[in-house]
């Protein structure tokens, strides 16, 4: 949470489910607390209900009966969006084509009856903040994708919303621009201290921007936690595989060891089960001499990525194992290598379904 936090509203969603008129169950009843000034990211694959949850918070969709949306403890469920004071950035930006850039940014203020002079000052402030000086009088169709994104953000922030809602604001941009804007957006959101709910299906975006991440799967909340918690201690196979790269190993357990084709691997803690599903992140596996290692396998392939190299090892586990090794390690396909994995890096997952 940033130092200037405090003027953002706290949001509570209580048992909010959503069934559309055609019977589609887009969201199972979910309860979620978002503290003032926090940036919460809704992350999940396409169709998992992220937009639906965002639209319920915005007031563009009504939750199913029994669901409640509260801002700062006040029940807002039946308050229409125009009286919720939320700023929204749409994936398509939805900028008004019949207005100039500055008229777009100033629209919310004009609706609120803010005097011309004050409005112009606020618009100028936002133009500077979002780095779009010189474009004020352009029409929307004369802007690039990145510029439109900034205008959309400036317009949403201009009204000093208590909550800022962003639905995949960077998805329409190319990769390089997306990376740059992500950093910019991050600094801006922290500086503003508005409670922010950010929808994305891009885990890198979620990691960088989120104070907390809500991972969603098929209309359900799969896990809520800080980026670190989500990454290091996923609570399900789905979360483990969705965030970052993960080796998922199904194997029998014996005296606190996974029993694998290529040897034995100790696990942290004690688990008294006959078998386990375990997750090992590729970068936690060290490549060592084959002779001295408790676990070994044959290198199937090596891909050099630049900052590291990715090895695919067969024979160690019952499935191919992905290993991220430093780019200084000498590794060739066909060689036998030992794999050293700290017991703490082995994360046991609940058996699927």
């Amino acid at each position: 949470m940033s130092a200037s936090a405090g003027h953002g509203a706290a949001v509570r969603i209580e048992a909010c489910g959503k069934t559309f008129a055609d019977g589609t169950r887009a969201l199972e009843p979910a309860t979620l607390d978002i503290s003032s000034g926090e940036t919460l990211v809704l992350l999940g694959p396409s169709g998992c209900g992220k937009t639906t949850m965002l639209r319920i918070i915005a007031g563009l969709e009504l939750p199913d009966a029994g669901g409640k949306v509260l801002f700062d403890g006040k029940d807002m469920t039946s308050v229409p969006i125009e009286r919720r004071n939320v700023g929204m950035v749409f994936q398509s930006y939805a900028l008004f084509p019949n207005m100039s850039v500055s008229d777009n940014i100033g629209y919310g203020l004009k609706i609120r009856g803010v005097p011309d002079k004050e409005r112009a000052a606020r618009v100028a402030e936002l133009v500077a903040l979002t780095n779009i000086s010189g474009l004020e009088n352009r029409r929307i169709d004369q802007l690039s994708g990145g510029q439109r994104q900034r205008v959309a953000l400036a317009r949403a922030v201009a009204i000093r919303p208590g909550i800022l809602l962003l639905d995949e604001p960077l998805t329409a941009l190319d990769a390089a621009l997306r990376d740059r804007l992500r950093g910019e957006l991050n600094r801006l959101l922290r500086a503003l201290g508005i409670t922010t709910i950010y929808v994305t299906h891009d885990q890198a975006e979620a990691m960088e921007l989120g104070d907390r991440i809500v991972v969603m799967q098929k209309g359900k909340i799969a896990q809520i936690g800080s980026p670190r918690e989500i990454y290091f201690t996923p609570q399900s196979r789905f979360v483990a595989e969705f965030i970052g790269a993960a080796n998922i190993i199904e194997s029998p357990l014996e005296n606190g060891h996974l029993v694998l084709p290529g040897g034995r691997q100790a696990i942290g803690g004690d688990a008294n089960m006959p078998a386990a599903v375990a997750m090992i992140r590729p970068e936690t596996i060290r490549v060592i001499e084959a002779g001295s290692a408790p676990l070994s396998g044959i290198i199937d392939s090596v891909s050099f990525i630049g900052d590291r190299q990715r090895l695919v090892v067969s024979g160690a586990s019952n499935r191919l194992l992905t290993v991220d090794a430093p780019n200084t390690v000498q590794a060739n396909a066909g060689e036998r290598v030992g794999l050293l994995i700290s017991p703490d890096a082995v994360r046991l997952l609940p058996p699927e379904d």
Binding site: A58, P97, Y107, I111, R139, D141
Partner: protein, 271 residues
């Protein structure tokens, strides 16, 4: 064959049609208009002669009011029909567009059935107030007829335009605090402007020139097409009817051009 000569070849049918059916008769019409006893001043008579002038003003006002009322009714109805799903919607749309096929005579007939001497409205008003309300044989009957005629056309255009509206724009406006009225004013109507001009132009031109309905209702309604008809057939006044025809064309064309240039600027702004 070069690309250029191919394009010219394609233009040939257009050129022939334009010359045969448009330029030559138009030229003849313009010349005829100046061949009356007053010569070229015959054109001036459209404006100076009180009867002609009154008819002209009558026609333009009737066409303008028809266009405006049509646009208002069709926009509200079209928006509702496009945005809402309810039982009987398809039937209602089919019914609304049914009159598209009717010629002016049938429209006139319907108006007489509605507001004529034996009409429904007269019947009811007679029962309720003891007085028969009859307006089919006047410019008011004609007005209702033109509405009946243009509303289906305009509704279809508006519905197509509403379907293409970006709902996100309306949601964005609402998120910024705009009331439903403000959303209509600032987002929806500007986005529909091109459709208004296109369909309004058709409604206006139709109301300026439609003849069948007027002719069916009465021969003494003061609108230009009727005037042209009476000058032409009853008075055999070829030159005046030609001058009036040219005047009708020019005025309609001028008003449409005005609307188009006005919308041109808003269309450009709407990107």
């Amino acid at each position: 064959m070069s690309h250029r000569s191919f394009v010219w070849l394609c233009l040939l049918p257009l050129a022939v049609v334009t010359a045969a059916f448009f330029l030559l008769p138009m030229a003849r019409l313009v010349v005829t208009g100046a061949e009356g006893p007053q010569g070229i001043a015959g054109y001036l008579a459209i404006l100076t002669e009180p009867r002609y002038r009154a008819t002209l003003i009558n026609t333009v006002v009737l066409a303008a009011v028809t266009t405006i009322v049509t646009l208002v009714v069709a926009t509200i109805a079209g928006m509702f029909l496009q945005r809402h799903r309810f039982p009987g919607r398809a039937v209602l749309i089919a019914m609304l567009t049914f009159p598209l096929a009717f010629p002016g005579v049938v429209i006139g007939f319907l108006i007489i059935l509605l507001a004529g001497r034996q009409g429904l409205i007269g019947d009811w008003s007679n029962r309720l107030f003891g007085e028969k309300l009859v307006f089919a044989y006047s410019i008011y009957g004609l007005f209702v007829g033109y509405l009946y005629f243009s509303i289906p056309r305009v509704i279809l255009t508006i519905m197509a335009a509403v379907q293409k509206l970006d709902v996100g724009l309306e949601e964005a406006a609402r998120s910024l605090g705009a009331s439903p009225w403000a959303v209509q004013r600032d987002v929806v109507l500007p986005a529909l402007a091109p459709a208004f001009v296109a369909s309004g132009a058709i409604a206006f031109a139709t109301a300026m020139g439609a003849f069948g309905t007027a002719f069916t209702l009465a021969t003494n309604i003061d609108v230009l097409p009727m005037l042209i008809y009476t000058e032409f057939t009853l008075a055999a006044n070829f030159s005046t009817s030609a001058a009036l025809s040219v005047g009708l064309g020019i005025i309609t064309w001028f008003i449409l051009a005005l609307a188009r240039s006005f919308s041109g600027s808003t269309v450009a702004a709407a990107g």
